[in-house]
Structure formats: structure tokens, C-alpha cells
Assembly symmetry: C2
Homo-oligomer: 344 residues x 2
Amino acid sequence: MRATVMYKAHDVRVESVPDAAIKAPTDAVIRITRGCICGSDPWPYNDGPKENGQRMGHEAIGIVAEVGSDVHKIRRGQLVVMPFAYSDGSCMFCEEGLNTSCVHGGFFGNGGEPGGAQEEALRIPQADGTLYPLQVGEDDALTPSLLTLSDVMGTGHHAAVTARVAPGHRVAVVGDGAVGLCGVIAAKRLGAEQIIMMGRHPGRTALATEFGATDIVSERGKDAIERARELTQGFGVHSVLECVGSAQAMDTALGIVRPGGAIGRVGVPHYGPIDLSTAPFYHNVIVAGDPAPVRAYIAELLPDVMEGRIEPGRVFDRTISLDEIPACYRLMNEREALKVMVRP
Amino acid sequence: MRATVMYKAHDVRVESVPDAAIKAPTDAVIRITRGCICGSDPWPYNDGPKENGQRMGHEAIGIVAEVGSDVHKIRRGQLVVMPFAYSDGSCMFCEEGLNTSCVHGGFFGNGGEPGGAQEEALRIPQADGTLYPLQVGEDDALTPSLLTLSDVMGTGHHAAVTARVAPGHRVAVVGDGAVGLCGVIAAKRLGAEQIIMMGRHPGRTALATEFGATDIVSERGKDAIERARELTQGFGVHSVLECVGSAQAMDTALGIVRPGGAIGRVGVPHYGPIDLSTAPFYHNVIVAGDPAPVRAYIAELLPDVMEGRIEPGRVFDRTISLDEIPACYRLMNEREALKVMVRP
């Protein structure tokens, strides 16, 4: 089968690899019908992969092609969405909804086994706990939105949840990538009154406005902090959704959070220690977040997708074949592509 | 009147100062019947005060001696407890229970105006919002426990609340000072199942056990982390109450917190940026805390004190006069005194 492999920074190839196959009785294999390039893929694309030959991709919808002997809930032929992390669904962390900390869990496309989802098929460990069956056809119009439940919509929701968005809150979303845009959807869904999108890419901020952003702050650094404070009577926001992962994004988050407010950080952190003294001094700011337990959120978000109340699939701005993936890594890296859907 | 004044590191004196007096119509003046030396006082005692001549102390019970023309709830002659921060009780932060971020608020004994509570009398800004009347006599047997509502019991409770202690939780308390011991009381009160006291002072850890600690870890550094993990099946604790404020205490907290767990940090922070990468990697650890809005907690904690369900006053191990304060700063600094009550 064909798969996406990263050898070193800026060296991504689509090539032939051995077919995905069951290894453990709790595994399934899915034939991927839709994959994605993620806003986090440019990090290894620039910094280099974890190994020379890392299989890439961690978001997919697919059809179950095979199940192991100890898989009881997932059945061959089902259309399923795959969270970016696998989990057994039964350990104490999974039971608490923290599937990303599953004692038998791990991440797809993160180096080593299992492989990635930018390929034709994928082995899914802990299939019963990991996969979530969908009740639509393979080419349903809702497919793009359903595909975001694999990562970006769940991650935006996690940013909002960990930033404690609540009805009436003032919220800022740092970052106009796909996760930030889904963060806007999540904040609005949870009842935020004011949603400030901190981003400067016109097409994306326009989409943010359609998703519910009430204000756009296109400045950066200190100017961005000042502008966001002006928009909040000088006090800052209750909730900051940090959806970038850079040091500057975290500094902005700490600079605009209100006393007693919370920062939900879901950007893959590329910063050092967090200097809480840059937050409102002594003002009980909460720092939370990390990888989203998206598996736990699917049941909550799916009805809103199915009934069209949220349309996170609008973040996709292009659909490509496997062969176009290397070129699209470059487009993602240059911020020319917002979110890429792959049809293997 | 006589007051405690710190001139430089290790130079604390009790001397005559002008009498406390009303300055604003929202002020009151209290005659202090009980004050304290705080576990945080050794910080300026070693590092030097904020100003050459800083008035010290921020915990007290007293009798209202005088009220300004715009004070309507507090009356002359009432016995009151004074939180370590003053607050108007009506701004948006106070209404949310975050009195320490009051837009008209500030801290006692923190340099400049108002003065401190290690003296005979004190001007109380925002008297209506700040002071909390008590329904006991000046020398009631409950006085020590009531006095802890001024700071240490409320602060231990805040550590527990911000660390999200809940029924059945495994909890660790870092620090066996008065706040840590009150943290044990708070954790037990909120239903913790396991309470690990991380401390090495035998008298204090014994008191922790009486308050509800189930395990004592007297090791430090990496050994302490290892021991606490052994006590929690290797996973760490749901909630860490960081009641010291040193870099080592914060490192310990990050080392023993469980995936999805929370750190409530209430020790006055004497550390730099927090390296969240030392916490369980990618495991959604929450960092919260800061100065406790103790004023907001009095109504909740007072009934338990009045009815004897909690006895935080047991943290006091000596009662002294004003003149003995300088000597007792030395004892506190050498950890020979746990918590000192002052009868001016």
C-alpha cells in the first residue's frame, strides 16, 4: 500500500510500504477513506521527524477492513472516525474521559508503531476503545465535519473546556488555524458572549466571524495584548484558547487573561517554562490543556454535527490525493492551505 | 501605639508609631485582640522588606474601634476577623468570590498603606467588604481557630479547591507549615480518600496525621517523588496542594501529580517560570492557585469552626506579646515555631 513518510525536515514522500495488518487481537485495520494534513504537521516538517522514516498523519475516517479476535464492538464494514490517539476505553483514565492518558494508549503518526493516517490503510490498536462508528455513507455531505471529530473540532472544544468557557464569558482564541477556528465554534457553542479571534490571515478571520467571533485582533505581541484589553474594558478575558503552541502565543495568552481566568493550551507546546509572573500578578490564573481526549468528546459533539448546528468541516479549503501530500506540506507550512483533506 | 516594623533583612522591631486612624469614609479602625506571625513572614525576613520600614502582619481578630461615615454594615464594638487582603465586596471580582483581585483591594502588611496586623490597631480600608463579624466573645476558646480564617485555613482551603480535591481523590500536600496542615484539614473536609503529607518535621507531621493525613513522606526531591508515586500505584495524585512556594516544592508537585490532575499553588512563589514539561508529558495537568480569596471562604468554613468539626487553631504552638515578635521571627525562620499567635 502507499503511505506518507517523513525522512527529515522538508523531506516528505509518498511511497510503497507493507500493507497494514492485525498484530494484536485487539487491533483492527481500517481502509482510510479520508485523511488530513494537520496544522501540527509543519512542526516536524521544519524541526525534523522523530525518526528517519516517520509515518505521518493522525486524523481519518475509514472503513473497517479487518478486526482481531478480541474486538467485540467494532465490526468489519463499519464506517468509523479515528481519534488521533488510541485508547482502550476502559482504564481509569479513559473512564474519566482522559483517553489521551490511557494506560494502553498512544498516538498515531508519532514515530514508531502504529503508523500514520496519511496512507491507504492503518492498523488501529485497541479498536473497541478507539474507533467510533458513524451512521452515514462514505461520501456523505457531512464527511468533512465528521472528519474534524478526529482532531481539530475535538481539540478546539478541549481548548474551550479547559479554558472554562461558560455562558456569558469573554473569550479570546489565539491562532486562526483550523484548531483556533474550531475553538471559535466551541466557544460559541458553550455560550461565550464575546469571542475575540487573535489572527491576521484575512480569509481565516472572515471564517472565524462566520463561526461566531465578535472581534478580530490582527496585531501581534504587545499591540495584540493592548488591543484585546481595550476590547474587554481593560480586564482581559475569562478564557483564552491557546491554539498555536509558540512562545509568543503563550505570552499573548498570559497577557490577555483576566484575574481568575483560565488558559486552555492545545497548541503543541514549542515553548520553554511558563512564566506565570507575566500573567496578572497574583490573580489566580489557571493554566490547563494539553492534547485533547477527542475520543471522549465525540459523543457530545456528534449530534451537533449530524444536525448541522455546527459546521467545522468548513475549515477544509482543499481536497487532494495521496500523491499531492508532499506539495501540500509546503502549502500548509507557508500558511497557504488552511486544512487539507486527503482522499487516498 | 506600638507596631512591628521591618527595616531590612533580619531587622524587625516593635516600636511606637502614630495611632491608626480613619482616612477614607469607607475605613474602619480595629483594635487588634489577636494577631499572628505568618509562615510567609520569613520570606521578607530573609530577602528584605519591600521598603525600609515595612509594617508587618496580615492576620487578625479585633474589635471595631471606629468606622468611617460610609461604613454601613460593620459597627463599632463588633468582634471581627480580618482577611489578609481588603476588598470592597461589591466589584465584579468580589462577586465572583475572587476578593484578592478586587478593583479597590489590596494587601495588609505588604509595604506602604495600610499598615500591618502585628500591632495594636489597624486601619481597614473597605471595611464593609473586608471585615467579617464573629458571634463570640473576645477570649472564646474558639479564638485560635477563628483567627485562622484570616489566612491559613482559608489558604489551605484555596489550595484544595484550586487543586480540585473531590470525594475519593488521592491528594498530596507539599509542606508541613500551618498552611499545609490546614490543607490537610481542607482536603479531608472535601472528601479526599488518601492524603499524603510531604513534610519532615515530626511534630507537624504528627499533627497532620491527627488532621487526617493517611501517609507521611519525609523524603525530599527525587526520593520524595518516588515515594509518593509508590503510594499511589505509580500514577501520582489527583490533587497537589503546593503550600511552600519554593522551586523544589513546585518541582515535587509537578513530579507527583497524576495525568489530568491539578496543582493548587498557594505558597508565595519564589520560583521562576514553571516547566510544565516536567509534569507527566502531555497529560493535561492543571496549574492553578495564587493568593486565597479568604474573605469569600469565611462563610463556608465558619460553621465548621463554630461547631468544632474542624480545629485549625491547633496549628498555633505559642502565644506571645508584641514585644516578643522579633524573637519569634527568628524561631519561625528556624522552623522552631509552627504558628505564632500574638496578643498585643
